[in-house]
Amino acid sequence: MELLTPGTGLLFWQAVVFIALFLFLAKFAWKPILSSLKEREESIQQALASAEKAKNEMARLQSDNEKLLREAREERDRIIREARDASNKLIDQAQSEAKKSADRMLEDAKAVIQTEKQAALRDVKAQVAMFSIEIAEKLIRKNLSSDKAQKDLVEEFIKETKLN
């Protein structure tokens, strides 16, 4: 039965020594150990969190870059399109203006030609009239003796007056 009856001496020593051990370890072992463990875990946690943050930041920067690039590309396309439109417009305008002025010049030329023609015709008419009067004057003047002579004379005059 001695196995089951706790000895007073051992009870006393166990209580005293165990409390002393607890107080000693709590101050000199557990306090530094547990606080360093906690510190280390916190620093690991922090490192992981900051790594995660850096990753997110990178992703954000990358998406920003892409956005900027896309915007720049769009801007470029827009500028090119606008330039092309402007140039086309200018060309069209120039073309239509050139056509217009050419047409006008043509018109003018035609009008000038017409007036010149009229003037020339008038001139020719006047000339013909003059020649006719001259021929008639010469015929009359020569007193046409013979028919033959008259005829020759007329032919001669006709030859002279080569109308072109």
Partner: protein, 350 residues
């Protein structure tokens, strides 16, 4: 313990050195197999009858530390009585040169208890017994190891653990993360130093107890009773309102049943630490008894074959005991955390 009968003396001595002896037995057995002429000279030859009482002598406390034959360490006796006051002397005074027990200064040592030779007066015995000496060794070892570990944290600030620190750290983390934190809950940090101390005390005690010649410290009921009593104190002093409400006025119980539930709950306050006390004591003491019984079989049968068989078996039991040493430290800490957790838990679901 006081009667060292001369014929029993060599036998008594054998129990602490049994493991060494069994090792010797194995080597001798090999010699025997090589040369059949090698005789029947057994370790126990000369003894007529083997007394298995040595097993119990090993597992209980003693005023001397008996390592092996001729290696008996007398320990300090500290006694206090009303008539004589405090007295301190060596327990070696209780034995003469022939290991016979004798009275000293009016005191006699009888069956491990010190009493007066001529009176029935009560003596308070605070002697440094074998287990108390073992307790000191255990505590010194724990302090040495854990101070080295703490020093490691001071040296390797912000660095990976090294040396003994990396060996002990997983155990500390295991106790913190697997035992204490899940059972106590958010307020675990307050109890962690105590529970770690408890765990390491039991673990080191269990492991030291397995060494040849060591005392059965954590298998002593005084030790387990003290530890269980501390658990009892901590649990009930940390008990919050809902813990006591659960015990005294268990919710959801019809009034007539309360007559049964109330005593059960109140007994439960005491059975919890009581079970802790018995579990550790029984597990460790039983292990020691099984090991010693197996070794004693050799000397009871006085047979080489049995010696070889039990030696092999003892090696396996020893490995199991190593496992048990860890498991019992774990279980004691686990249940203490569980009880504390029950006491500090906030019941908001009623």
């Amino acid at each position: 313990m006081n009667s060292f009968a001369p014929t029993l003396q060599p036998m008594r001595a054998s129990h602490t050195s049994l493991i060494f002896r069994s090792l010797r037995l194995i080597t001798t057995l090999i010699c025997l197999l090589v040369s059949p002429a090698f005789g029947s000279g057994s370790e126990a030859s000369g003894e007529d009858k083997f007394n298995p009482d040595i097993i119990l002598h090993h597992v209980i406390d003693d005023h001397v530390w008996h390592f092996t034959d001729g290696m008996v360490l007398p320990l300090p006796v500290i006694v206090h009585s009303a008539s004589r006051g405090l007295e301190v002397f060596s327990s070696g005074n209780f034995f003469d040169e022939h290991h016979q027990s004798k009275a000293y200064n009016g005191y006699v040592l009888e069956h491990g208890h010190i009493r007066f030779e001529n009176s029935e007066e009560h003596i308070l015995d605070l002697s440094v017994t074998k287990n108390v000496a073992m307790l000191f060794l255990n505590v010194l070892l724990i302090v040495g190891v854990l101070l080295a570990v703490a020093n490691g944290y001071r040296k390797n600030v912000g660095k990976a653990p090294s040396g003994i620190q990396s060996f002990i750290e997983p155990i500390i983390l295991f106790v913190r993360d697997e035992v204490v934190k899940p059972n106590i809950g958010p307020r675990y940090e307050k109890y962690l130093p105590y529970l770690l101390t408890l765990f390491f005390f039991i673990l080191f005690g269990n492991l030291l107890g397995l060494l040849p010649g060591a005392a059965n410290l954590t298998g002593n009921i005084a030790v387990t009773a003290t530890l269980a009593f501390f658990t009892f104190l901590i649990t009930n002093f940390s008990g919050n309102k809902s813990y006591w409400a659960h015990i005294l006025w268990t919710p959801g119980i019809p009034l007539p049943l309360r007559a049964i539930i109330l005593p059960v709950e109140i007994i439960g306050i005491f059975t919890k630490p009581f079970s802790l006390m018995i579990r550790l004591f029984a597990a460790i003491t039983a292990g020691h008894i099984v090991l010693l019984s197996l070794l004693c079989l050799t000397f009871i049968f006085k047979s080489w074959g049995v010696g070889f068989g039990t030696s092999v078996f003892v090696i396996f039991i020893n490995l199991i005991e190593l496992l048990v040493a860890g498991i019992q430290a774990y279980v004691f800490t686990l249940f203490t955390s569980l009880y504390i957790g029950m006491a500090v838990e906030e019941h908001d679901h009623h």
